[in-house]
Symmetry: C2
Subunit: 400 residues, 2 copies
């Protein structure tokens, strides 16, 4: 992000109709133009298979919907406390106890307007201007942009298939500079679907502690995992920062609800930021989310996870057979991060051709990073098995 | 906001359990501790009259609630476009045409997660590190804090009762520096309830244009005004920035929904920021808000405004009789910004005594500014006439 704007240039900008030059590096997502083009093709009468969307195709589970309606009937339409409903924070705390054997005080849990709101709050809490933050390449594109919006530098750590697209301490050390203040990771990761196991988390935690760097882990795909043991970073590091979401496993995208966990000493400042930045998350969404922890809801959500597992298994088998190179294990989330170098050395052109000529919408790897992004693409299995079968048949025809 | 953190200090901060020192200037609202203490007193069996809360006491109007429930029944729980539902942007555009005779393209309107989300987006769009932004003293406290969060400087422009607590061009010129990039105002203003008329807006617009400064006006209390003519800044300045909200006139606080209007040339960058910062506003809230523009809803909302007008008239008469000095005209919003210097030269102590000894919760002026804040306080008329009468009786007893 360029910092050297002269006074005169900056004065002129906002009245000359030019947004701040510093914002030029905050890029729109390529997936948006894919979606836009797919929509145009559909309007022209084409049948498009959507493998570009990062949103579960299930609408919100009925018990959560009913709880939302009950909240509306009860007139629960006022602001809540900035940190969220105590009852909801209690449910989340209980989930950490049941799933991870952790005692996380509800005080350390702040309800946020989506994981986006949580990440934005943590960016303000943790990142000052000029700071460097180590993130993986590839990673969820907003992460890069949140760091840039803080007038700080994302320090990209290339990760490779052989290491399940997750970094080692050595990888981080290689990119670390004097400006480095923290490490932001994701497990499961978007776009790769790969996770950090307990020994990896321990090593990363130990190194960041030793170096005085903060450690933030995006755990928004927790619950949507296909392995028996998916540790939270909090199991090995009580002073790590976590962002989580009701959008993915809990299927509440459009409600805009998430949470963060912060260490004890950060609670007051995080609360002040929440008061300022968003007053409170949606009261209706919070009351509805209380129902997400009911056993009947869990049955629904777990059966959806099993549907995602079936789709993953199908996609992995078929895409591998077609010649794509996939991660060794997609342990969570609903993405296949595929190497298409057998077919193209330009994933943007490849995605464009598959969309225009075969009606299969996918996201080029360039949304997620720089290193080897040009031969990578992301396919979401957030559409029905029937649609996935059509997609595979079309890709097979295209690549024959 | 202090910028001179040494590298070593900054490294140590996030692992030593200390939030960034730069955040120390982002202050919690005093109203929060008033609310907290009022709650404690209530738990101990006291009857507290709440004049501290900046939230309408009406729950959301039934047609909006029903539309929200219908959206849930229809499964409309997915993300919307980052800029919001086209239908909702169309309704807002139509409102500008009907109320202000303005043609504002729906493309220029972005739906945001509350006015908070809108202001936060505009802060990122318009404010770079080191910039100065002219704001009034007093003003809504978040405004100051949003500017500080951008590592920029709020440049306080003291405004006085004789000028209806709104600034003249000369007032702005007196505080303007080489670092100044823009002017952020509010009409109606929180805490003063005063407005900028058309000639004031024209003069401010002409000056900011001439000086190359952007002009942003918070119009979130539009609709909740008690004068016949309340102009939008867009009537005199097509390249101004506006933030508005569904929380106040539309009574949708807990839903978290607002909007911003940006000039044509800023649409793309604003959309990119929206994609990154919050993906979309709540889909349920957006679908519900469509019903806010229906004639049957407008009847309800307008009758609520008339109730606020009755409360205002009552409070103005009674508080003046008690010896408080009020603005010459409270033209909108639901606050009385009262000078209590006849009774105290320390409004924090005064508010504390009124709460502890008389059970009347009010917000000290120090939440809103520095200049003369120590003899000012804010009383909200967001509680019933019966409660207001109890408050006045208690204040009368206290001040006898």
């Amino acid at each position: 992000m360029t910092q050297e704007l002269s006074t005169q240039e900056n004065v002129a900008e906002t009245r000359s109709g030019q947004p701040r030059a510093a914002l030029a590096s905050v890029t729109p997502f390529r997936v948006m133009s894919v979606m836009q083009r797919a929509h145009e093709l559909e309007c022209a009468g084409n049948q498009i298979v959507h493998l570009e969307v990062g949103e579960p195709d299930f609408s919100t589970a009925q018990p959560i919907v009913e709880a939302g309606k009950a909240a509306l009937d009860a007139g629960l339409t006022q602001y809540t406390a900035a940190t969220g409903l105590a009852a909801l924070r209690g449910k989340i705390s209980e989930r950490y106890r049941l799933q991870h054997g952790l005692e996380i005080s509800p005080e350390r849990i702040l309800i946020t307007p989506g994981a986006s709101g949580g990440l934005l709050l943590l960016a303000h809490l943790l990142v000052g201007q000029g700071d460097g933050i180590l993130i993986t390449d590839p990673a969820y594109p907003c992460v890069r942009n949140f760091i840039k919006l803080r007038d700080a530098s994302p320090q990209l750590v290339p990760v490779v298939r052989a290491a399940s697209y997750q970094p080692s301490v050595e990888d981080l050390m290689a990119q670390r500079t004097d400006a480095t203040r923290g490490v932001w990771l994701a497990s499961p990761n978007n776009p790769t679907g790969t996770i950090l196991d307990r020994s990896q988390l321990s090593a990363l935690s130990a190194w960041t502690r030793r170096e005085g760097l903060h450690l933030l882990v995006d755990e928004i795909y927790h619950g949507l995992h296909f392995v028996d043991d998916l540790p939270s970073v909090l199991e090995v590091d009580d002073s790590a920062f976590v962002v989580n979401s009701f959008s993915k496993y809990f299927g509440m995208t459009g409600w805009r609800l998430g949470w963060i966990v912060v260490p004890e000493a950060f609670i007051d400042t995080a609360r002040t930021l929440a008061q300022n930045m968003y007053i409170s998350a949606s009261s209706i969404a919070q009351h509805a989310a209380l129902a997400a922890f009911e056993p009947e809801t869990q049955v629904i959500l777990d059966s959806r996870r099993e549907e995602f597992r079936r789709r993953r298994d199908y996609m992995v088998e078929e895409l591998t057979a077609l010649g794509f190179v996939l991660p060794q294990e997609i342990a969570g989330a609903f993405y296949v991060y595929a190497d298409c170098s057998k077919f193209s050395d330009d994933s943007e052109a490849f995605c464009k051709r598959m969309l225009e000529e075969y009606g299969v919408a996918m996201t080029p790897g360039t949304d997620f990073g720089d290193a080897s992004a040009r031969t990578m693409l992301r396919l979401s299995f957030t559409t029905s098995m029937a649609q996935l079968q059509i997609a595979i048949a079309r890709l097979r025809a295209a690549l024959a």
